[in-house]
Amino acid sequence: MEAEIKSINDIQEEIIQEFEVYDDWMDKYNYIIELSRSLPVIDPKLKINCNLISGCQSKVWLNAVYTDGVIKYSADSDAIITKGIIALLIRVLSGRKPDEILNADLYFIDKIGLRQNLSPTRSNGLLAMIKQMKLYALAFKTKYEKTL
């Protein structure tokens, strides 16, 4: 249960520490490739166009469900590096309350040197994915929490 009480920033710090041991880019990417395998893969039935966040270079499918006050994400991508970064995002944001997700400052991406993956010119769907994750949070908050 310990993982349940870790805050978003606790997890971000954890990830930053994990990446600190890699001073070589190739090792870093190998670790991201490894992480890509841990991704809660989206149900193939949900890999449909309305769940597709289309970037110019790689595709991202994202789904979200709201249960017991928290949002659970699942996702997939056709590019492995993108998939690995998504796995990190899900680790940080999945299972959180909508407000936590909405207020999250995802500084770990910059700290582990993957900022360039978020630049709009990369068009790899990651930036759009974060936006979409937050949009889900806003939608669920509006739908389920307004009347509470």
Binding site: M26, I33, C56, Q57, K59, I80, S123, N124
Partner: protein, 404 residues
């Protein structure tokens, strides 16, 4: 060709990225600049800057004179008949948009047809599509086969009394195919149809003679031929440039302005509204001189060797798909590492210091032809070496072990 001497002229080639020596294989997107061009831009700003065609003062006169020298240098470079057939624009995109607008205003009407090819860069698709939407005209497409060769028979069948203009690339930015533009133009002219040739990807790699080609319009960009960015050329036959209306209004392009009516200046000024990128034009001379001092035939031979070497080495790997196998190619290769996403490959190769473009290269219909989302493009310039290609091959092997 002394490659070491050439490389010494391009200071950026000494840069390191991620602690690795830069291997610059993105020449199809833009080329690096030799010292001659860099110094020209610096020197002009320090000692000679002044707006052209306006003042009577010393600096303005001098700048005007150099600007017109640039026009003459371009004329000579592409062997146009007259200097006033050379219009300076912002680049290839600017040139094509200008012609599509201006020619379209006068000659394209409802149900008319415009012919382009399946291998065009978006810059030679979208302006014509916009024209078709404005005029309710139709776009007709010349297909290419899997090798990357245009179907010339099909092309001729597309032509009819409704065809107003043909816009075709000289060399494909994705497949590298050098198209038989002379033959295409000959066929088009038999039907009295003018042809615009997109030379963005040909001018840096092979000698161009617009009179011999007999094209009606020819366009290219300065930054792809080792010159400054933001400067481009629109060549048009005198008779066409006198026929079509100006595409932009403003200063310098007018003869007389009253609120009732404005009359336009003569060629080439009627197409150069406002303050042009005169420093870009003037320093483009240095780039053209640089290319000429080496010789386009020598450059072509060197680049052909790079292309052959890279093609062979990639084929030898046994897990590479190359897109575009035309017998006549410029020095670029589009490829995928089988079963590995081009984005993953590009990200890792980038960290090895190899600069390439991944994605659709602004030619999405080409990707659609092959049913792919994108690929990797290695495009070589006059300063590249086979040793650099070896580094690419080593990089690809590494990618294969990581993702394969």
């Amino acid at each position: 060709m002394d490659i070491n001497k050439i490389r010494a002229d391009f200071p950026i080639l000494k840069e390191e990225v991620y602690g690795k020596p830069l291997v610059y294989f993105d020449n199809g997107a833009t080329t690096q600049k030799p010292l001659q061009v860099i110094d020209c831009i610096n020197h002009f700003h320090r000692h000679k800057n002044s707006s052209i065609h306006r003042g009577v003062h010393f600096l303005s006169d001098q700048a005007t004179e150099e600007y017109e020298k640039a026009r003459e240098a371009v004329r000579s470079f592409i062997n146009a008949s007259y200097a006033h057939e050379v219009i300076f624009t912002s680049g290839t995109t600017g040139s094509i948009n200008g012609v599509a607008f201006s020619f379209g205003e006068k000659y394209v009407h409802e149900n008319d047809e415009i012919v382009i090819s399946e291998m065009e860069h978006h810059a030679n698709i979208v302006p014509w599509q916009m024209l078709c939407e404005r005029k309710n005209a139709r776009l007709k497409i010349i297909p290419f086969d899997d090798k990357g060769l245009l179907n010339i028979e099909q092309f001729e069948k597309l032509l009819n009394e409704k065809t107003r203009i043909i816009a075709i690339t000289h060399a494909s930015n994705t497949l590298a195919t050098i198209n038989p533009v002379k033959e295409i133009i000959k066929i088009a002219h038999r039907h009295n149809i003018p042809v615009l040739v997109d030379g963005a990807q040909s001018v840096p790699h092979l000698p161009v003679d617009v009179q011999d080609m007999d094209c009606d319009f020819f366009v290219f960009s300065g930054h792809k031929i080792y010159g400054p960015t933001g400067i481009g050329v629109l060549y048009g036959k005198e008779k066409w440039l006198n026929e079509i209306p100006p595409f932009q209004g403003g200063g310098d392009m007018v003869e007389k302005v009253t609120f009732e009516k404005t009359t336009y200046n003569q060629l080439p000024y009627r197409f150069e509204a406002g303050t042009t990128n005169y420093i870009g034009a003037i320093c483009l001379i240095k780039a053209l001189e640089y290319v000429q001092s080496i010789g386009l035939l020598e450059i072509q031979e060197h680049e052909h060797n790079l292309l052959s070497y890279a093609t062979k080495r990639l084929d030898d790997l046994g897990y590479i798909t190359i897109y575009g196998r035309a017998p006549q190619k410029t020095s670029l290769i589009s490829f995928n590492i089988n079963d590995i996403h081009h984005y993953d490959a590009g990200m890792v190769l980038d960290k090895m210091g190899i600069a390439m473009r991944t994605g659709t290269h602004c030619a999405q219909p080409v990707m659609q032809h092959y049913g792919i989302d994108g690929n990797i493009r290695a495009s070589f310039g006059l300063y590249n070496t086979t040793e650099e290609i070896d580094l690419l091959i080593e990089g690809i092997k590494k990618v294969k072990t990581m993702f394969g």
